[in-house]
């Protein structure tokens, strides 16, 4: 059994939060640059160029890419042969939250979490608790992925139960409707994460996991790979465009993850992500 110190985990999460806030991932920046080359609407090209400039300023001058530095969504994958060196009974989740709190404070990132949703909505002033998704793997490593997800696009995400006999065209049509409903408010061009199968909550998690993939990388299953391409084409035909002001670049990519499901069900979830798609991973 390999042991990792509590502090090592917290420090890793801290640095992932900070780099996510300031550095647009290479695949996202490349996708925006490619879109700017292909876009036919001059106003849309100008917006895409401003987004490229925004990414440059953020990295060079240490100004966060967006003022909404997000809710920290942390995917943690723990190898079966690795454990946390216990410090005063604190858990892996404590280490992750300690890292998020330190990262948002030291990184001058906005704290956007309220302790309770409906009554008083008092800011926790630490951007914790993070949303943590835990899974097990083989090996002796700990993989951490931090996705700092903005509220504007998260607000436009949707879920629907389809009949198990639904055709893929029905799914495409509904996802396009979700994208149109998201519109200008969710900061297009989007990355559209789609989760198909599982159950009510599992499909939503799949849609977020889909967003962890590299843009342009297709699903390893041929059917879903084709569906991703078809969906991207359909979404970009809406003409919504960057900032909802028209153009062929409504989404930078559509990514699908699927899972087995009940014979009676066909759950589908769409997680809308804005162009400022911030996520960073580390393996320790």
């Amino acid at each position: 059994m390999r042991y990792i110190e509590f502090e090592k985990i917290a420090e890793t999460v801290e640095s992932l939060c900070i780099s996510a806030g300031y550095e647009l991932p290479d695949d996202v920046l490349s996708a925006i640059k490619n879109a700017a080359k292909k876009e036919t609407n001059p106003a849309a090209v100008k917006i895409l160029e401003q987004l490229i400039e925004n990414a440059r300023i953020a990295a060079d001058e240490k100004i966060p890419l967006c003022q909404d530095t997000g809710l920290a969504v942390v995917f943690v994958e723990q190898g079966a042969e690795v454990a946390i060196k216990n410090s005063d009974g604190k858990t892996l989740f404590n280490a992750i939250n300690a890292g998020v709190e330190a990262g948002y404070e030291k990184g001058y990132l906005r704290k956007s979490v309220v302790a309770e949703p409906l009554n008083q909505r008092i800011n926790t002033n630490s951007n914790t608790p993070a949303i943590i998704h835990y899974s097990l793997a083989s090996g002796d490593k700990l993989k951490l992925t931090v996705m700092t997800k903005g509220g504007g696009c998260e607000n436009k995400s949707q879920f629907k139960m389809f009949k198990p006999t639904a055709q893929k065209e029905e799914i495409i049509s509904w996802v396009v409707d979700v994208v149109k409903a998201a519109g200008a408010e969710a900061c297009p061009p989007f990355i559209v994460g789609v989760g198909i199968g599982g159950n009510f909550e599992a499909s939503c998690l799949l849609s977020k996991k889909a967003l962890c993939r590299k843009l342009g990388q297709r699903n390893s299953d041929e059917f879903y790979a084709q569906l991703e391409s078809d969906l991207l084409l359909a979404v970009n035909k809406t003409g919504l465009g960057p900032q909802g002001l028209g153009g062929n670049t409504t989404a930078l990519d559509c990514l699908i993850e699927f899972a087995p499901c009940h014979i009676a069900s066909l759950p589908v979830a769409v997680n809308i992500e804005c162009h400022s798609h911030r996520h960073k991973s580390a393996i320790i």
Partner: protein
């Protein structure tokens, strides 16, 4: 090429009525930030007949909650938040003299009607470009509701802050749907 219109708040009726949906503008001068909670409090103050923390007549309100400023800097990232969340509050503020709102995305029919009636516009800034937009802000000072943290009301001085007219005072919009 048309020259881009310059806006210098406080704005008057003539400034507003000359703006058309789709036009680009550059704002120079003093604007005020307010998000959801600050809007709620401003409206409660109006209802209670209390004095507001800033002069609303002719003002531009920016729907913004910035990231903290690094030492020696004026402000952090400073892009717009979703405007429609302010829909239930904006008509009251427009009736009380607000002339322009700066955010991103759509407004509902009540806001559009209020903008037509009183002469106001909704401006859209580039969403998700908080680093780029922050370069147009030269000073920032919290003037009210400090307890709200990032949602406090800030008085900002901006220079050539870029936006487009998303909804004009004739009820026209740059957005094709909605």
């Amino acid at each position: 090429m048309n020259t881009i219109k310059k806006l210098h708040p406080p704005l008057n009726e003539t400034d507003i009525r000359s703006l058309r949906a789709g036009e680009e503008v550059l704002i120079t001068g003093i604007i005020y930030t307010a998000r959801d909670m600050a809007h709620k409090r401003l409206c409660e103050s109006i209802e209670a007949g209390e004095k507001l923390p800033f002069e609303l007549t002719g003002a531009i309100i920016y729907f913004l909650g910035p990231t903290p400023a690094r030492p020696g800097r004026v402000i952090g990232a400073a892009g717009p938040t979703t405007s429609s969340r302010m829909d239930k509050f904006s008509p009251k503020l427009i009736a009380a003299g607000l002339k322009a709102m700066l955010g991103k995305g759509y407004r509902n029919q009540q806001v559009i009607e209020a903008m037509k009636k009183y002469g106001a516009v909704h401006l859209s800034a580039l969403g998700g470009a908080g680093a780029l937009l922050s370069k147009h802000i030269v000073s920032s000072e919290i003037i009210a509701y400090e307890d709200l943290g990032t949602e406090a009301i800030r008085k900002l001085e901006v220079i050539d802050f870029p936006a487009i007219v998303a909804y004009d005072s004739a009820g026209q919009t740059v957005y094709k749907e909605k």
